[in-house]
Homo-oligomer: 261 residues x 2
Amino acid sequence: MVKIPKSHPRYWSLYYRERIIEGMEKGMTAKAGLIAHGRGEAFDYLIGERTIEPAKKAMKAAVAKLLLAKHPVVSVNGNVAALVPRETIELAKALNAKLEVNLFYRTEDRVKAIADELRRYDPEIEILGVNPTKRIPGLEHERGRVDEKGIWKADVVVVPLEDGDRTEALVRMGKFVITVDLNPLSRSARMADITIVDNIVRAYPRMTELTREMKDYSRDELLGIVQGYDNGNVLSGVLDHMRNRLTRLSEGGVWRKKELD
Amino acid sequence: MVKIPKSHPRYWSLYYRERIIEGMEKGMTAKAGLIAHGRGEAFDYLIGERTIEPAKKAMKAAVAKLLLAKHPVVSVNGNVAALVPRETIELAKALNAKLEVNLFYRTEDRVKAIADELRRYDPEIEILGVNPTKRIPGLEHERGRVDEKGIWKADVVVVPLEDGDRTEALVRMGKFVITVDLNPLSRSARMADITIVDNIVRAYPRMTELTREMKDYSRDELLGIVQGYDNGNVLSGVLDHMRNRLTRLSEGGVWRKKELD
């Protein structure tokens, strides 16, 4: 990995960029995953690289729904495995959810590389999706393969950094779909039941913490949180946040400014 | 290159994505260049994938300044060579500017691959930066190397898709710096003297055309254009444009919408 001095003003951004490149070198992340990561960076820039209120609301509703679920599943792809392997395992364990490797550009080598990476953090962890026997209707063969014990059977699925076609197909199958996506305009963001517009490196640790806090909530309390949640409203809130930030930056001027608020 | 049907709604976006991947396969583009391209794609999406008024103003001032320059230089990196090799040569020729290969992740193989690519379009073209002997002060060794006959001597430089640290170092050296960058908040965009917030695939052909049109302008006319230009104002204009587009999208709502305006 390229060594980045901690003093660089863009240290964390460059650090995760190197993680994604390393993910590609390990055979986990596709080339298109690198480009997708860059798209995420742009939206994170606009948000201000912090967790905003609409994302906090979405996470709370997501955790409530996952705690109520009978068969919750957390999906892992090449970018997720590169950025948050440990955090994914921690979240799935806190939720008692299954972990499933599920890839848009599926090859057996990539599935194996991702499973190996996850096992570096927990050698005992159960990983689904290695030999998927079922298919999501309406998707091309390789893109639709899912595990009978995982996404196929799930009532609630977390599909972070996901392709729009697949998110939509899961919604059509009747799954309750939670996504994490920095682009509030992406088809995944627009199609999911709950859309967490945040960087997954910030979102997953916070969701794990929330899960631990909310585990003792009553069923009614959890149901109330889910019923009171409005994803359309949350997405508009994200767009408003970006809009207001752009207004402030425009009014204050950005030229030759060393730092942005 | 993957064949994309011309009818695809995202044809041009996918086409240039393939060009960048091909650039990497040819040894010109760094992996981090793919991520940077993705970031650009996202900002282009927000702009609406067209050349907006503030960019037109910036291009006109840039061309005026370049026509007034004693030693104009156009810099080429791996992403530029992948996206607009022919257009870069055309712009440099129209401007009577030098071409210099200048890389953030410099290796001799990458410099050679880029020079070879440019020579495919014009075997006679002079390419600087192959054996750079000077250094930009304040930059780490490999990242600061420049050509004595090129950027070192230049009064006006075009550094498109450039790293923020390098843009800033060139400004500190007293160069007049013009950048092309889709992110109006990037450090390059904030530090340059003139910032063209546009996709380079649209900007370069337009700048070449402008150069041909403006070649007959008087020196006073060109000076007037440069003096009347305000980069802070132009950057705020770009942010306002993005904000207005987000406002429209937010007001219309985006959840479960199949298409966005």
